[in-house]
Amino acid sequence: MNCWMFPGQPLRHNQPFPETADGAEIINLCRNATGFDPSTWQDDGGLNGEHVRLQIYGTAFSLCRTRLLRSSGQEPDMVLEHSMGIYAALAACDCISEREALEMTARVGVVLARMSEDKRYALGCIIGLGCPAVETAAANHGVYVANFNTSSHFLLSGERSRIMAAVEECAAAGAFSLSVFECDAPLHTPLIVEVATELESIFSDYDYAGPRVPLLDHIGQQPLTSSRIPAFLLDELLSPVWWQQSYRAAGKLGASTFVEVGAGDALKKFNRWIDSESR
């Protein structure tokens, strides 16, 4: 079985859009739906910062890759999503349109960006340290584990000064690699409740069809249904991403080929690590 995986927001925009008719159509759709052109990196001024642009770029890139795969005759038997990859995943599963996926990404991004007006948030990437030590560091400094990607790859999320302290503790505990990234909002943490009402309102503006193939959520690894989608879209921003569990759940359901449908190859690398521990 063929599983398509939709990654979350890329950290940079270093992959150009394919110069194809589909690439041009997605760019055009993106301009019309969000006011942002991911090929020139220009917007009409309605977006609030670089992270929102990266989020839209991520969705647009995934939509473009989806079209390219389909034009080469490929189709998924199952779909996995990671973080904000959900919006392109919903479009790939025909739950919403491509335009709606782009628009939703932009609207959510603008709301999240407002959180950074009062506080500075960051993400801390911890590699090569076990889960208990990472969870302890997070608890000690009042931040959250936002991504459980593998047994040795985690993302912390929270206020910037607290993230720095937690990352220092992880370094002292023997983490192999650490990095900190600025972000607009403490994604995948309960702190998102501050903008939950606005987000809920966005998600209630759309009609959702049932996924045409099983689309596993990254919280409980259950197939999403049309009625569950709006609540999940909010929950997923308040809850961590459980990637290792999601990948293993897809394997148990019969997925044997995994295709990363987006910019970069982080998910493939997570899977490689998970596989290496399974042998």
Partner: protein, 85 residues
């Protein structure tokens, strides 16, 4: 000694990182592995740490050491030759 290890190191990189469609001879011995070279990142680095320990019994204790060790295939081979027991 370390020159003899170079083909083995290249094969280890291909196997542990599951690099498809590339043979050991296509990896340049002195080219940077990270950034513009093979384009590896910190996730790859940890995978290489585990592979080196498994295959050669050599430990890379931290990222600071790793950044020197994983500078190129040659530096990896040199480190293995120096630290192999």
């Amino acid at each position: 000694m370390s020159d003899e290890l170079i083909p083995k190191v290249k094969q280890m990189i291909i196997d542990s990182l599951r690099i498809e469609g590339m043979s050991p001879s296509e990896i340049e011995t002195d080219a940077p592995l990270f950034g513009e070279g093979l384009g590896l990142d910190s996730i790859d680095a940890l995978q290489l740490v585990v592979a080196m320990e498994k295959e050669f019994g050599v430990v890379v204790p931290d990222a600071a050491t790793g950044s020197k060790v994983f500078a190129s295939v040659r530096s990896m081979a040199d480190y293995i030759a120096e630290n192999k027991q």
